[in-house]
Each structure stands twice: as structure tokens, then as C-alpha cells.
Symmetry: C2
Subunit: 269 residues, 2 copies
């Protein structure tokens, strides 16, 4: 595993790589990342992982400050996973002349996480397209846990006729059902138990919700009872309608974002 | 041949076309365009030609105003060439919220035509990338007569990891040697004869120039004697050095731009 921080040096390694797989991360590597990385290694000639905590996509300074940072553990974990390159850029390398706020992205960005996180998805797309320009990967691997992010990035890449193919990968869950996330590192043991109960409760009731046998407001109040401190959103969405080129057999998805203490978790089921 | 002006309608036709060839033009179709179109038809499943006189790339209003406009003749010529789609967008369709002056392009844009045409290449790249986003072609066919433009577009497409492949096509010349150009429509018979003599003179002396047996200043004054009213530039360039990913066996090229009356002609030999 080669660790590279300079983009010009990186270019020497990756510019002639025809089938490069790219897994962008903000670090705090977990089983979800490992699954993306293993998919990339299996289908690409070389795999590059980036760790970059992208400040512009955080709406609150405190959220950026508290975001888990585990640089040494991450490097050891990535070495074990046998990736080829680890890209650790500085902020200046990514934003030589600042963050681009005028980027045009899918209107899907206004829903769900976009409602209470203004500018979040623009900043995500901006940083991803910057990485794509530097790395020029054949494939980029993104987790379905962040379904909205995945679809917005896919839409941007197709719209801009960019060469990189977006590979969406199934959500990986802890044994207790909670979707793997770097933010899970911020949870206490009790909060982890709450998250597990909430996931199990939603899973158990999803069919009833789709069939109209239970109402969203009932699920919301139950989630609060199960330990959530606040619900950001809880929505049943026909994804085939909202995300145009998307055709899933299971057309309904429950999208949820809620707080456990100061930690905001998202999931889609 | 389907004629389409609306980009949403266009999307219906081209969005699922896997091997679409695209020839962008500003109209006044000539044998150079025909050569690009024939190459596209030979190597692509469908061929789309656009006619759009891109105002932002003109530095002088008078040059924009005088640019040859031959809409009816063009349509008849393109129908004869058996293209699949002719895209005739309005300015609003291409620039719904104005022209992007902040686009980043190759530093090669500062040389040759870039010296006396500030902003010209940025405007060219901006419009080409807008067309690429709308049309999403597998290949774009560009003439080597506009070598600098070709290389700057190729650089931008590679740098931005865009899916479209740039196909550079040899310059097509009139029987008298003059490179085919829409601007030739603006020449009088006498000016056309001047242009022919200038081309022949440069061709005859190119080896002497490379070997240092003749000096540039001598060629320049001879070109004026042959009828040119003004020389914009006359340069011998090692293109393998200036254009980084470019490796040509014939590494030297003479780049010339000069005026015949109000008409500015360019060529590279």
C-alpha cells in the first residue's frame, strides 16, 4: 500500500491505470468501507482509497469537530485490506481556490437530508468531482446506506458525461442490525442499543406501513419512545418515482434520520 | 435527417445511443465538415451535427456579424451527407444562465490565437462542454486545421475525465491548397488567390525554415508581399513539447494567422 498526499505524485501512479477502482471515505474505516474496498479489489486492476474529512459538507462546526478521526487505525485496517493506494490529500490540494458553491446537482438534493443540511449535497458533489478529476477512476464505489448521496452523485456523473461508473453497494449492518457508519464510533453502548431497537422496529413494521395498516406518525412516536432524541425525517418514498433512471423491484423505501444525543444517524430500509 | 432545436426533445433521441458521433459546427458547411461527418458515419452508429454560431467566442462584434450564415444551403448539404440528427439550438438553450468565464483550460490557450483573442478558447471550451452534456456523444470529431482548439478541447476532456473521445481529423484543402474554412466564403476571388500563394510559399519553404536555412522574418515579409494585409502570428512550434500527451513523428509545425482584408485565416502546416 502506497500512501500519497501530493496530487502530482499521485498522477504518476494512476494516470495510466485503465481500470482503477476508487473508494472515497472520510476515515473511521468500518465494515461498510471494507465491503466497498473488497468489491473494488475484486473488479478492478488497482484500488485507491481516499481519506479526507470534507469540511464544506458539514453544516455545523461542532459536527465537523466531533467527526471521528482514527488515522493510525485506518492505515492499519487499509493495509490489511490490501488496497494499492491510500490518498491523504491536504485541504489546499483539493481546494486550491476554494469550494465551488455554484455546482448544479439533481433536485433530489432538496429532499430528505437536503432539507436540514443546506448546501450539504453541493459540497459532497463538489468534492467527489474534484477527486474524480485527480484520480480518474474507472469505477467509484459508494454505499447504499447513503442512498440519496449515491443517487445525486450518479446523476451528476451521468449528466456531465463523466467516464467514471458509479457502483452502488448494499448497506452493511452490525450484528444488531444497525447500518455501519463512521458516526457509530460516537455512540455510547446504550445509544447503540437504542439504534438497534429502532432498526428492528422499523424493519418489523415496514410492510404494515406500505400497506397503510400503520401510520407514519405512530412509527415516529414509537421511535422517540425507543430512545431517539429527535427525528430529522421519517419518510416512505417510492424511489422509482423520485429517482428517474432508477428501477427497483422493491419500489418503496423508508428513509430515516434521527438523533441519539448529538449524533445524527441515517438509514434506509 | 431529423432537425431538432429543443434539448429535451433531443435527449429522447440520443440518451440511449451508445456510439453517437458528434460534429460541432458554426455552419457554412464545407468539405472539411463533410470529411468529419463521413468519418463519424463510418465509425459511429448515429451521427449528429450541430450548427450554432457561438457569440461569446467572437472577440469583435463585427466578426460575429460578418460570420457566414447559410442555413438553407447547410441543411441541404447535411441531408445529402445522410447525417441522422441536425441540432439547431437557440442561444437560450445553450446558455440558460449565461456563459461561464471561470472555466479552467490548458495553458496552451495563452499562445498563438489566444494572444490576440482574449477569452476566445475559454468560450470555445465552455460551449463544447455544454454540447457534450446535452448530446453525450461517444466521439467528437474536430479538424486539425484548428489544431490549437483541438488540443485544448482534448486536454479539457481528459482532465475532466469526460467520456467523449476526441477524434482529430486531417485538414482538408481546396485544390489550390487553401485549408477549407467557413471564413473562405468571405474571400473575394483575388483574396482566394493570395491565400493559395501564401500556402504554397510556406509549404515550399517549411523544410528550409526547420533547418534554419531561412529566417521567420523573411517568410513574414514575403507573406505580406504575397497579399496578406496583416500577420497575426507566424511561429514554428515543436508540438511534442508544447502539447504534452502529443507525440507526432513530424514534430515541427508552422502555425500562421493572417488577414486578407477583414477576414482572418489560420492554418498549420
Amino acid at each position: 500500500m502506497k500512501i500519497i498526499s501530493n496530487k502530482k505524485k499521485l498522477a504518476e501512479f494512476v494516470d495510466n491505470e485503465k481500470n482503477l477502482g476508487f473508494v472515497p471515505t472520510m476515515g473511521a474505516i468500518h465494515s461498510g468501507h471494507a465491503s466497498l474496498i473488497n468489491k473494488s479489489i475484486a473488479s478492478c486492476s488497482k484500488t485507491i482509497v481516499s481519506i479526507f474529512i470534507n469540511k464544506p459538507q458539514f453544516n455545523k462546526k461542532i459536527d465537523y469537530k466531533n467527526y471521528p478521526r482514527k488515522r493510525i487505525k485506518d492505515i492499519l485496517a487499509l493495509r490489511k485490506l490490501k488496497i494499492d493506494y491510500l490518498y491523504l490529500p491536504t485541504s489546499k490540494q483539493i481546494y486550491p481556490s476554494g469550494h465551488n458553491k455554484n455546482i448544479k446537482i439533481s433536485s433530489f438534493s432538496k429532499k430528505l437530508c437536503g432539507k436540514n443540511r443546506p448546501g450539504h449535497f453541493k459540497a459532497v458533489v463538489d468534492v467527489v468531482q474534484r477527486f474524480i478529476k485527480i484520480i480518474k477512476p474507472a469505477k467509484i464505489f459508494l454505499g447504499e446506506k447513503d442512498m440519496q448521496q449515491l443517487k445525486i452523485i450518479d446523476h451528476f456523473i451521468k449528466k456531465n458525461h463523466i467516464k467514471t461508473k458509479v457502483i452502488g453497494c448494499k448497506t452493511i449492518r452490525e450484528k444488531n442490525g444497525v447500518a455501519c457508519s463512521s458516526r457509530n464510533f460516537l455512540l455510547s453502548n446504550q445509544e447503540m442499543k437504542f439504534a438497534s431497537s429502532i432498526y428492528k422496529y422499523i424493519s418489523k413494521n415496514k410492510k404494515k406501513l406500505i400497506k397503510g395498516k400503520i401510520q407514519i406518525k405512530n412509527l415516529r412516536s414509537k421511535i422517540i419512545k425507543l430512545g431517539a432524541d429527535k427525528i430529522d425525517y421519517f419518510e416512505l418514498i417510492n424511489i422509482n418515482k423520485i429517482i428517474k433512471p432508477y428501477k427497483s423491484k422493491k419500489k418503496y423505501k423508508i428513509f430515516v434520520a434521527y438523533f441519539l444525543g448529538k449524533t445524527r444517524l441515517i438509514d434506509n430500509i
